[in-house]
Amino acid sequence: MAVIETFGLSRHFGKTAAVEDLTLTIEAGEVLGFLGPNGAGKTTTIRMLAGMIAPTKGYAIVAGHRTDRDVEQLHEIIGILTQTPGLYDRLSARRNLEYFASFYPSIELQFQVEKYLKLMGLWERRDSRVGTFSKGMKQRLALARALVHEPKVLFLDEPTAGLDPEAAGEVRHLIRTLREEGRNIFLSTHNLNEAEVVCSRIAVIHTRLLALDTPEQLRRRFFRRQIVVQLEALDARVMEVVKKLSFVQEVRWEGSQLILELSDSERNRPELVKAIVEAGGRVIGVSEKQYPLEDVYLRLIREEKGNES
């Protein structure tokens, strides 16, 4: 079942297009990573999906509500973590959360506030002023605020931006916990590792949607599957034998590693190892070459920029 659907969603500011013809579907229980450079339209998309700004063209449906028409109902069922935590520094953590929770009619306020302060590890500091919190604590509190009314869809706009690695790790861990609970999450981020660790699918945007798939499928789109055989030492005999194997399409070596493209990388793998061992090679390990998602992302963006110019 689709939780978010967009149909040619576009937003222009004057003559500038912030988002152009965005069409995508996000299924229930999915964590979608929304990647793109600065000014790519990520925040604008989140604001349109959260019913905070109207599209210039097209429309979106979030949990059954048109974002441009059913704004009040939409705001009952979404949670949003904006780029800045936007908390009241002179109020306590509990007071901040109670304030926002009080706008939702159907929740048990005190129970929910306690639940999320505990989940975010802030219960001990519940009566401290937010102004005394670290950036990471503020971000966790802002996340609690976005969740306190149990939203059907959660929008996270760069939740780890500006955090130190430890704090970012804590926030990422919380997002993974939410993913395991089966929450529907739309995560805008710059951080490709974060997207890979947390998200089930990734959308790359640069005003328009460039790609939408699982991290693995995105890699395959640009990079062929390669097998890495780590040898104790590489000798000419092994190389000669490998080159002659009918299922080896391409081979090169880097140090004591053989890097190969096979006709069928799953089925051919045992035969390959057998041939190397018979040729006197001592195999330390066999693995698949992992291209970082960053390479995929950069290729997509460069291609798009090339098209623009």
Binding site: R47, M52, I53, E76, L87, F103, R145
Partner: protein
């Protein structure tokens, strides 16, 4: 639900207001300064100019209208007639308190939220714009009203202390009460709404206050109109004025809701 939301906004605003030294000082010190200044002016005028001020044509016209409104004043000596005339301006002078307080609270409240980013998070909740603005308006107007009433009490006590107690029957009239309990709340709400309107266009508190301070001028004009004898504000006129400002409150709430466009706040307010 609206009542719960408005109450929640109001309590949050007060919690923020009274934990910020600047805002707390504005709410508490401004009224005392206004009262102190007013009393000093009246004392100086009665001490050094005295009844001779009444010989000027402007004051004579005002005095004639005052006598029509409060006939007993005609029996008083000239110096006391002057005092009654000046003391009767004080209820309008007190209107400066809700005006200045409400504008300050409004602009700080909205611009602070704008700068901290909390407004964006707030606008993604089901809270309606009118609930938000009314909650904030009440949070600004109620302390402003309470301080105005306290200031009025302080003024009366000081007037007694200065030996003007005998004249209180010519000052604490129906018009005095109507001004305090009807006109003052209406002016406080209007000031707040103009503060909101100013804030919706301004990028920092000072800009918002400059825009909104235009309401201070009509308040000063009320004093000018009365003391120069153009119009004497009888209880009926004050009632009508309060009614007109009450209607203006309603219109300004609707205007403020319209000006307070969520989209422009999210996109343009940085």
């Amino acid at each position: 639900m609206s009542r719960r939301r408005i109450r929640s906004i109001l309590l949050k605003e007060w919690a923020l207001l009274f934990t910020d030294v600047n805002s707390a000082l504005i709410v508490t010190l401004v009224p005392l300064l206004v009262v102190g200044q007013g009393i000093v002016y009246i004392w100086l005028a009665s001490k050094f100019a005295g009844g001779s001020m009444l010989t000027t044509q402007v004051f004579q016209i005002a005095l004639q209208k005052l006598v029509v409104a409060i006939p007993g004043v005609a029996q008083l000596p000239a110096n006391e007639q002057l005092l009654v005339l000046l003391l009767n301006q004080f209820n309008f002078f007190l209107l400066l308190i809700p005006t200045m307080t409400a504008i300050s609270v409004a602009t700080f409240s909205i611009v602070e939220e704008k700068l901290s980013g909390s407004l964006e998070a707030l606008l993604a909740t089901p809270v309606k714009t009118w609930e938000l603005l009314l909650g904030k308006a009440l949070a600004g107007a109620i302390p402003a009203l309470v301080m105005t009433w306290i200031s009025a009490g302080v003024f009366l006590l000081v007037a007694l202390g200065l030996g003007w107690g005998d004249l209180s029957r010519f000052v604490v009239t129906a018009g005095w009460f109507l001004t305090l309990f009807l006109l003052t709340p209406a002016v406080a709400i209007l000031s707040f709404m103009l503060g909101v309107a100013g804030s919706s266009r301004a990028k920092e508190p000072r800009g918002a206050q400059n825009t909104a301070l235009i309401i201070v001028l009509p308040v000063l004009a009320l004093i000018g109109i009365q003391i120069t004898g153009i119009v004497w504000f009888t209880p009926l006129l004050i009632l009508l004025l309060a009614l007109a400002i009450g209607i203006a409150d309603f219109i300004s709430l609707r205007t403020a809701v319209r000006l307070f466009r969520r989209e422009s706040i999210v996109v343009q307010w940085r």
